[in-house]
Amino acid sequence: MNPREYAINIAELEYGHRQGPRWRLPKWQLAAGQTVFLEAPSGAGKSTLLNLLAGLLSPTKGELRVLGEPLHQRHAAQTAPWRARQLGIIFQNLNVLDYLSCLDNIRLAAHFAHRHEQDTGAKAADLLQRLNLPDSILHTQASQLSVGQRQRVAIARALINDPPLILADEPTSALDDTNSRDFMNLLFDLVRERGCTLVFASHDRSLGERFDQQIQLSEVSQPL
């Protein structure tokens, strides 16, 4: 396979400071369009890996290509425009800014990716409909939403720019079982529909069944 076709291509990746903890990932390749479940107990370097994949951290050593972008050659501060266009990111919590409306939250992502505002409104409405959220929620201030609703708005926000890669970090940990199941169903429907690559990190093994790959982070990486 041509290395450019990998969504993620990692070789001899090292990260860490001389004094602090250091961490190494010898090899990991992920084909585009795959969904992968990254199982990692806390402290296994999960956040570090996700921050590296998002371009928020620069590797100390080795090669890191995400969607063909050689992140090991980039400074973390320069990756913002790339991140805005190429990645959809869903977090554990604080996915939305409380003081903005849902629409403004979604627009924010489009703004950083330099998308036109007119398209965004209609697209956001479509997405929210797919996510079983009523139209009226578009103009509701985010602080008034339930946790489940917020995470669904986060999906809409992550997908608004049609990114090829979605990074999700424990997005269901704040949700109850029903909400969590709904969230996973909706996320998978939309990801499959669009053919996105999905990297989903969680400590909850029960969520992992439907993914194309399941990876134990501690098996592929090692602390130095």
């Binding site: 928020l56 991140r83 977090f91 604080l94 800014l97 924010l108």
Partner: protein, 406 residues
């Protein structure tokens, strides 16, 4: 999008934002009004000698001569002869000479012995009519009242009063042989003249005559009627020149006069010297004002900084969404800049309102003309320094905080 974000973010913490604005507004108010009050006082001082080119008296200190002649503070140590006054009054180049005979009082208010030239001087230097009621004295035993005197003592036109010898409130020696009739009440001028009574020079001469001689005078002689009433001394006099260019020339001529030792001073210069002595007051006031501004800046910074800590997650999210750091710094700068700008505008508006209100009160109560002049320099300093300082602090703190984010 950024303005929307900044606006919504400020709106979401409107209480602390309002406190910030109030802090900046109050410090702007202090900074501006300290300065305006000082300048108002300074300008009131300058108005007191408006239209006077030279003040002439017996040799004494420059400031002393200014104080007793123009501000009626202190007393002359020596006097000049009436001939000297007449010599300069008639001198070519002198447009107006106002004689001043000081040393008597009424109920603690000073009495000035002068002539029609004083009223001409007032008419020339003030836009309003000289008298609110009545007219100038035409007879020896007539008196006109400064605005403040009439207001405080409540004297109407036609009121009869007696003058006291000396300047104390409770003088032992009254000039009770003759009473004076009030013929006019002066309009407020905002100068020390408001606190004086004016009589003719002849009147001052007359009341110092021995009672027996005074008794020989008719009950109400017309001014200029009795040659014997022409005084032989004068405390000081004001000169207004026809041509200001000759001021220094005439000053030198007076100072070198060989008939008797005479001193002429330029009142503007003397006032500048007086303010020079008072320099520390301005320094202290400005220092206080700046301190207030600094406190506001620190207050704003501390309130924004405490928010900054709580907003780390927000910045993290913005960064994840692909916001450049520059965007976040600008956002912070915009927010703090908006707070400070609104605060300064509110503070300036408040200052203008307060001063307008104050000047109306001052004008009607004390006849004090309080020029409304906001110091462009102080305002400029406040406007530039505060946001710059605040913005810099915030951005530095923001940069420091963001640098710790992954």
């Amino acid at each position: 999008m950024m303005f929307r974000l900044a606006w919504k973010s400020l709106l979401s913490r409107r209480f602390s934002a309002a406190v910030c604005i109030a802090m900046v507004a109050l410090s702007t108010l202090v900074l501006l009004s300290v300065d305006t009050v000082y300048r108002g006082a300074q300008s009131a001082f300058s108005r007191s000698v408006q239209g006077i080119d030279l003040i002439v008296g017996a040799p004494t200190g420059e400031v002393n001569l200014l104080l007793f002649s123009a501000f009626h503070v202190g007393a002359p140590s020596r006097e000049l002869s009436w001939q000297t006054f007449q010599q300069w009054e008639k001198s070519p180049g002198v447009a107006r000479a106002v004689p001043l005979m000081l040393g008597d009082s009424h109920q603690g208010f000073r009495v000035i012995g002068t002539n029609q030239a004083m009223f001409d001087h007032l008419a020339a230097t003030h836009d309003t009519a000289v008298f609110t009621q009545g007219k100038a004295f035409a007879h020896v035993f007539e008196v006109t009242l400064g605005h403040e005197v009439a207001r405080t003592l409540g004297y109407p036109l036609g009121k009869e009063l007696i003058l006291s010898h000396g300047l104390g409130n409770h003088s032992f020696q009254q000039h009770e042989a003759r009473t004076f009739t009030v013929t006019g009440i002066l309009a407020p001028t905002g100068t020390p003249i408001d606190k004086t009574l004016q009589v003719s020079t002849e009147a001052i001469e007359a009341i110092h005559w021995p009672p027996a001689r005074l008794a020989t005078l008719p009950s109400q002689p017309t001014l200029g009627e009795t040659a014997a009433l022409q005084p032989d001394r004068v405390s000081a006099f004001y000169l207004t020149l026809a041509n200001k260019v000759r001021t220094f020339q005439i000053q030198r001529a007076i100072n070198q006069s060989d008939t008797e030792p005479t001193q002429a001073i330029l009142p503007g210069v003397a006032i500048t010297r007086l303010w020079g002595v008072m320099d520390w007051v301005q320094m202290a006031l400005m220092g206080l004002g700046l301190l207030a501004a600094l406190m506001a800046a620190i207050g704003v910074a501390s309130s924004l900084l405490s928010h900054l800590d709580r907003r780390v997650a927000e910045f993290q999210l913005l960064q994840l969404l692909g916001a450049r750091r520059r965007f976040i710094y600008t956002l912070l700068g915009l927010e703090s800049g908006a707070l400070i700008a609104i605060g300064i505008i509110a503070g300036t508006a408040l200052t203008v309102l307060l001063e307008r209100g104050f000047s109306v009160i001052a004008q009607s109560h004390w006849g004090l003309y309080w020029p409304l002049q906001i110091n462009g320099f102080a305002l400029g300093t406040a406007m530039l320094a505060a946001p710059l300082l605040g913005g810099l602090l915030i951005t530095l703190a923001g940069a420091w905080r963001l640098a710790k984010l992954p």
